[in-house]
Subunit: 216 residues, 2 copies
DNA sequence: TAAAAAATCAAATCGTCATTAGATTATCAT
DNA sequence: ATGATAATCTAATGACGATTTGATTTTTTA
């Protein structure tokens, strides 16, 4: 019979968060399963009870981060308000999310490449392992699609703003990349206890993107 | 007596460029000395004739990239022209440089962390090795200082523009990070042969940062 | 309470590197 | 030409780290 997970156990989510932490400090390749395990008082071997392998754990970290931020931003896009206000809110949520969990944020920025170069290990390939790897590659692709969906949320608001006459007719894909690049970089330089908090940074970003440098 | 390097030899710069290439593809930790060596038809062991170790090679890659871009941008800052024009040029040079050598560009973005976590290897520490490592740490710090100097080039132009009344009184450090974040991200998503080339992307960026989204 | 499922661990495997040692070959300065 | 220096190679060395194997300990359900 199915059982609910034992209370003694460390939950998958705990491991994911721990992994994000260590990942931020060291990067994927430099992070050992032992490092991650230590963070939650387990041995490396125990992690394999929860995740098929290191790649799957990384993917879980990234999926968690992406799902979270999409969940926050999606409703705003679908709401009815001036596009400038939508954009302000989207920027605020994304930036604050990045400053509140720089670990996952940094992983999203830095570890994409590790995902892309997911080696199909030419192991003593049992049909079993092959399937498992196939599943991972599938999930990897889904992740990238979802990542583009996230970016598209910004593109949609920009397009809408232009259509409505609120925004200038800028190049939408490029402007989106510009915004997201600025955001992603935050997770690299932001430090808790700095001069500005996430909200303040976001407000300045929004002003910057909306109004620009020049006087009218 | 000093001798000039043999013609047979692969030049240090060749190795540095090769390393940047492989680094872009795989990331620091996933890149083996063998990979880099193969790129220039050498064996891994031969690389140690040119570089003390892998860390020093990475540092050389980053130093080369930084020196190049600083060399291009510095003169513009010191020139006399409207700040808006200065900024346009700086953006163009930086972005084009990133699109023309995404390898080094990506390294600058992605491998900083590897540098930061330069482990002082608790080797069978001969005083010799210790000194060598000390030197690396020294160079590492110098690199970071130089990196901040680069960022300061942007801050200076922004400050000047504000002082002169050309720019609005935006938050200079944040606006700089915003610009540089957008730039750095280019080396991640840019693909040769895409819809726009480096110059065009730069022009759109400059418009974006100078004029913003809203109509006057 | 007993069997089953879950969670964990210690120890062994098996590769893959970075780095070193010890030649060997090529090139230059005189 | 010839010794010195540079550049390179082949073959170790030594770690370290992902993953597997086979218990062992908990917890849950019936």
């Amino acid at each position: 019979m199915a059982r609910k997970p034992a209370d003694q156990s460390v939950h998958k989510d705990d491991i994911i968060m721990a992994a994000a932490d260590v990942l931020q400090r060291n990067g994927y390749e430099a992070t050992t399963m032992k490092d991650i395990a230590a963070q939650v008082n387990l041995t490396a071997a125990s992690l394999y009870h929860h995740f098929r392998n290191k790649d799957e754990l990384l993917l879980a970290v990234l999926e968690a981060g992406l799902d979270h931020v999409i969940g926050e931003i999606e409703p705003i896009v679908e709401s009815t308000r001036p596009c400038a206000e939508k954009l302000r809110l989207m920027i605020a949520l994304h930036v604050v999310s990045l400053t509140q969990n720089t670990a996952v944020g940094a992983a999203m920025v830095f570890e994409i490449r590790s995902l892309m170069s997911l080696k199909t290990p030419p192991r003593n390939g049992s049909a079993f392992d092959a399937d498992a790897q196939q599943g991972l590659l599938q999930r990897r692709d889904t992740f990238f699609a979802r990542r583009d969906y996230f970016e598209d949320l910004f593109r949609r608001v920009l397009r809408e703003g232009i259509a409505v006459g609120e925004f200038k007719p800028i190049d939408v894909p490029i402007f989106s990349k510009m915004i997201l690049g600025a955001h992603n970089w935050v997770s690299v330089w932001y430090r808790e206890g700095g001069r500005l908090n996430g909200d303040q940074i976001a407000a300045l970003f929004a002003d910057g993107f909306l109004k620009g440098l020049l006087h009218e």
